[in-house]
Subunit: 311 residues, 2 copies
């Protein structure tokens, strides 16, 4: 019997989720998404490389880094991470997605610090105000989610493509003519024709595939309804909620969202689960955020740094 | 009796001392020197602002930052630290001393990340190949120590100026004519003339001042005898020793010093105490460095992160 030995589930590890200033116990924004064996790093605040070590992430498997915007708490860990990649002997190319300007900043730093790289860094600079597909392979797609912050900013939507159907081994065992070399076609959805001409329909030989999951990362932004159609029905949504709603004016002024608003986005987009984050340092007890959000969207949660969550 | 209520001793806190790659338990180079109530930050690898928090340093008292060279493990924490200064409401100017190029790098980063500062950053760019005085106030002087690394690099020498003499209150009490408003002149070394014309010599009225201490920071460099006259007789010398002497060739190639060589510098410069640092990650047990150094210079020590040591 065919065994799926590789775990193709999607896991999210939040490496840091506080806003602005790193402290002893909290780190600025960075997340690691493992989807279909790809390892995507999302944002890279100062200290992210140490958080990655704590999460026991394999540095050499990180080939794609997505930066939402060029505020320091989302990107100041990038020069050090790339310098460490070099020292660890990396040779495979690294793709960096981020706002226009990221290449100039990074290359100026590398030139002045004489950080000679033995590998290529490919910059994918973004400047569009509409959602676009920026990455695709045979199993995963990534789209931008244009946001509304004080500086040009995108969220990112990660989607598994529809998966192969599972083999129904109980049925397949009834037909000795079906050999293991036929499995590939059957999983891909094809019928099987027996030597007597009888057609075994694919839906008899297979079971529904595992559902394809999706993850949307939205940080930093004002309340913005135009994200709703882009993130519709995602399995998990991370949405910043820097303030509670009594500071709605402050949120608007600084280009951020309140917990109530983040929950409203989640509810209107009918997402499976909402993770809040990017909390202002003024809040010592973070449960006030879920208390506020759950009034609108009950399936709201606080992030837990370094915990790997299955999506 | 006059009491010295302020502790004017000099303290060194090593915030990080490993080379190249930050790990979970080690930080790249950064040191905090408190001398005569001034707080000097020396180098600023990634994560330094969190180390400063752990050391309970008052951010607002750091007005002078000295960067030895522009390799990432000595400066990648600077953009984040300055960004945090702004968020904490700083308004006093910050002086940054470092190699030519530091201004362009920092200003490019601040421009692209739109880090608007409410305070002035004054860059003092260095490009000389001889020792120069780069800072002076009424109590402290700072000199560069030109080093020999793969990139332009300076160490820094911090010196307390000669201190005021102490009042000999036992003697002074004998003369009712001497009032507290006279103490300033007496401490500064002046004799006191009694109303009958008798001259009280200053050496009778005062005791020797506390000795002036000095601290030399040397990182990163090949073995370099030209530093010896500059750091002659310093109270404490920090000298990098990235490798043991069996890797002398590797040390030369990468622009570093061995423990044996660092001890030789300490011995020839007749310093009071040697602190080693900037160890390659290949060494798990660091006592091998002091074992090697003490053969040449017995007063050699390992650094201890976050421990505040009186100089």
């Amino acid at each position: 019997m065919l065994q799926e030995t590789i775990d193709l589930s999607t896991y999210l590890t939040i490496l840091g989720f506080n806003s602005a200033i790193p402290t002893i116990n909290t780190s600025p924004t960075a997340q690691l998404l493992e989807m279909e064996e790809r390892l995507f790093l999302i944002d890279c605040g100062e200290g992210t490389q140490v958080q990655l070590r704590k999460a026991k992430a394999r540095f050499s498997k990180i080939n794609h880094i997505f930066i939402s915007h060029l505020h320091g708490d989302h990107c100041f860990g990038l020069p050090g991470l790339i310098a460490s990649f070099r020292l660890l002997g990396r040779d495979n190319p690294l793709h960096v997605y981020g706002p226009k300007g990221i290449k100039k900043m990074m290359e100026t730093i590398f030139q002045i610090t004489e950080t000679h790289r033995g590998f290529e860094v490919v910059y994918h600079e973004l400047d569009k105000d509409y959602s676009e597909k920026i990455y695709e392979d045979n199993r995963v797609e990534v789209y931008t989610i244009p946001l509304d912050h004080r500086i040009y900013c995108n969220g990112y939507l990660f989607k598994e493509k529809p998966k192969d159907r599972h083999l129904n081994m109980k049925e397949i065992a009834k037909y000795s003519e079906i050999e293991s070399c036929d499995y590939h076609n059957i999983k891909a959805g094809k019928d099987f024709v027996l030597s007597d001409g009888y057609v075994l329909k694919n839906e008899v030989l297979t079971l529904e595939p595992a559902p394809s999951v999706s993850y949307a990362f939205c940080s930093d932004t004002r309340y913005l309804e135009s994200v709703i159609p882009i993130i519709k029905n995602v399995t998990v949504l991370y949405h910043e909620s820097t303030f509670l709603h009594d500071l709605k004016e402050m949120a608007d002024y600084t280009g951020h969202t309140t917990a109530l608003e983040a929950a409203t986005i989640a509810q209107k987009a009918q997402v499976g689960k909402l993770i809040l984050g990017h909390f202002s340092n003024r809040y010592a007890d973070l449960t006030v955020f879920t208390d506020e959000a759950r009034n609108i969207f009950p399936n709201s949660f606080l992030p837990k740094a370094l915990e790997s969550v299955k999506i």
